[in-house]
């Protein structure tokens, strides 16, 4: 991943040879008259974990929600610029938001399982998109998704029990399983561990690392340790600007911009 203006620097990096799956060019976001993002240009490589870091209110969640057009739900929010996924402009008028969101899963800050059984939570997506024809296929999808989310062992005997009865960490893995069940290409995670204890957080981080084999993951996090642990690429946002983006290790060891350095050493934010 690289900021276009930094392309000369990152040209030597191996990942720049890869075709990025998501490309954002000059993305501006306005909430009514207030500009929340200023001309964000960012490439997100496939099958890698990209973390978006930065102080509160810097626009990282806003950017994440542009990728699956969740910002459409906010009436006063206006997005300009171009975001392409797999070469297709997602803000094109021909794009069906519903199919777009089926391709891009999302995991939220607070675990938000539906007030339904564990099984029904995971089966929700495949059902509405009619991905399965028989009850047997549905069972398979649910089991596979729970297993990929590392939750199957813990819940296989109580799939009929409400998903809301699980612990916070289990609920969040249930939400990940629910997202996986639709077989998206990309999974967006908005501070998925901020409501969890350290052990549950460690499990989710482990899971994220496994998932990147099959999915492209973009994660917003407040924890720089987490960004360093789980991501290969990091983008630092500050006051609506993308300050710096690149290989995680590089961002954390030799940041180019003084603001990045201040943030990761704890002086701003």
């Amino acid at each position: 991943m690289n900021v276009v203006s930094h392309e000369d620097k990152s040209a030597t990096e191996p990942q720049s040879k890869e075709e990025p799956i998501i490309t954002a060019r000059n993305v501006d976001v306005f909430y009514a008259d207030k500009q929340a993002l200023n001309g964000i240009t960012l490439d997100i490589p496939a099958n890698k974990v990209t973390s978006l870091i930065g102080p509160s209110g810097c626009g990282k969640t806003t950017f994440l929600r542009c990728i699956n057009r969740m910002n459409d739900l906010i009436d006063i929010c206006k997005v300009t610029g171009e975001i392409k996924i797999g070469g297709q402009d997602i803000y094109d008028e021909k794009v069906d938001v519903v199919s777009l969101r089926a391709q891009i899963g999302m995991v939220f800050q607070k675990p938000n399982p539906f007030p339904k059984s564990i099984f029904e939570n995971v089966a929700y997506g495949p059902r509405i998109h009619r991905l399965v024809k028989t009850k047997g296929e549905l069972n398979d999808v649910v089991e596979r998704s729970l297993s990929k989310a590392g939750l199957l062992e813990e819940v296989k005997d109580r799939l009929d029990e409400p998903g809301t009865g699980l612990s916070g960490g289990q609920q969040q893995r249930l939400c990940i399983a629910r997202a996986i069940a639709v077989e998206p290409k990309v999974i967006l995670m908005d501070e998925p561990c901020s409501a969890l204890d350290p052990i549950a957080t460690a499990k989710i981080e482990e899971l994220i690392d496994e998932l990147r084999e099959n999915y492209t993951i973009v994660i917003v996090t407040h924890s720089m340790q987490q960004a360093a642990r789980v991501s290969q690429q990091t983008a630092f946002f500050h006051m609506g600007n993308l300050v710096e983006a690149g290989v995680t290790e590089q961002i954390f060891t030799t940041p180019q911009d003084p603001r990045t350095e201040s943030y990761i050493t704890g002086r701003i934010g």
């Binding site: 969740m70 089926a102 999302m106 539906f114 929700y124």
Partner: protein
């Protein structure tokens, strides 16, 4: 050591105590009055059941509470079978709920999920105006507008329609209940956390799929509660049925005929000069008790449903 003054200078704070006592007295008065009402109902009803057996009252199919002025008159006994009144009440309430439930729920869903803030700010107060119309005005509307329309339409297609029909009373009563259902359900739907909608939309569900499969199921306990509350309102409603449904205690399920309800009969029995010792007058209290028990049971069921589903959805 530094002195810290924690001994109150104002002693036992008499004003605080006085306010507390005042509050207690107010709530006790409310409770005592409620108990008093129940007892007076029960007492008068008991006197009625000394004249007419409970079986006859609950299962009798004939309601004609005429008591003779002279004992040698024909039909001096009067008959006090409440079944035609119960079925009449249920018929009208059922028509009212069948009208109000779809209208009320659909407008609640529209207000909570689709309407822009500008539209919501206009429509919600308008619905509340509907709730503020005196029921006697609804009564005019039912008797003078809706009933003739139904009668005319019915005659055109060759049906025999009474000029005071259960359908007219039920329809208008349904309109009256719409704001009750829509306002309560709107609150309940708004209380469903936004995070659940986000989760569903984030999975690629459409808006209507999200509403049907996530929002409404999560809101069901509250919606069921509001429907039951509306039902007890319909059962207890008086003015509309007095003016539009008629006095004839017909035992029928045909909404085009005139029926009468428990509340209408209570009004009829207690208006004008009445002999207080007669079974005719006392039967009003028995009917009142019956009405009270029915609405009480409905409210208890409503609370039970709300509680059960809330536990499941928590």
């Amino acid at each position: 050591m530094q002195q810290i003054d924690i001994i109150g200078s104002r002693g036992a704070r008499p004003l605080e105590r006085a306010i507390q006592i005042f509050m207690v007295i107010c709530s006790v008065i409310a409770i005592v009055i409620t108990i008093g009402i129940v007892f007076s109902l029960a007492f008068e009803a008991y006197r009625f059941f000394q004249l007419v057996s409970l079986q006859e009252f609950l299962f009798g199919l004939q309601w004609s509470p005429q008591t003779a002025i002279r004992s040698d008159q024909v039909g001096a006994e009067g008959s006090f079978g409440a079944v035609p009144l119960i079925t009449g009440t249920l018929l009208i309430s059922a028509i009212a709920m069948a009208t109000a439930t779809p209208l009320g729920l659909a407008s609640a869903i529209y207000l909570a999920e689709y309407a822009s803030p500008a539209v919501r700010n206009i429509v919600k107060p308008l619905l509340e105006i509907l709730a503020g119309i005196p029921t006697v005005v609804y009564g005019f509307f039912a008797a003078l507008t809706v009933a003739p329309i139904i009668r005319w339409t019915g005659t055109e297609v060759g049906l025999e329609v009474a000029s005071e029909s259960a359908l007219a009373a039920g329809l208008v009563m349904g309109i009256m209940i719409v704001p009750l259902i829509s306002s309560l359900s709107d609150d309940v739907i708004n209380a469903v956390p936004q995070s659940l909608r986000d989760a569903s939309l984030g999975l690629g569900a459409t808006k209507s799929e999200t509403i049907r499969k996530v929002v409404l199921p999560a809101a069901i306990p509250g919606v069921a509660g509001s429907l039951l509350l509306a039902t007890s309102r319909a059962i207890g409603e008086t003015m509309i049925v007095v003016m539009a449904a008629g006095m004839a205690a017909n035992l029928t399920a045909n909404p085009l005929q005139a029926v009468t309800t428990i509340t209408v009969q209570i009004v009829a029995l207690l208006t004008g000069d009445q002999e207080f010792e007669s079974a005719k007058t006392l039967s009003a209290f028995a009917l009142g008790l019956l009405l009270f028990i029915v609405t009480l049971v409905l409210n208890i069921i409503a609370q039970f449903i709300v509680k059960r589903f809330s536990e499941q959805y928590d």
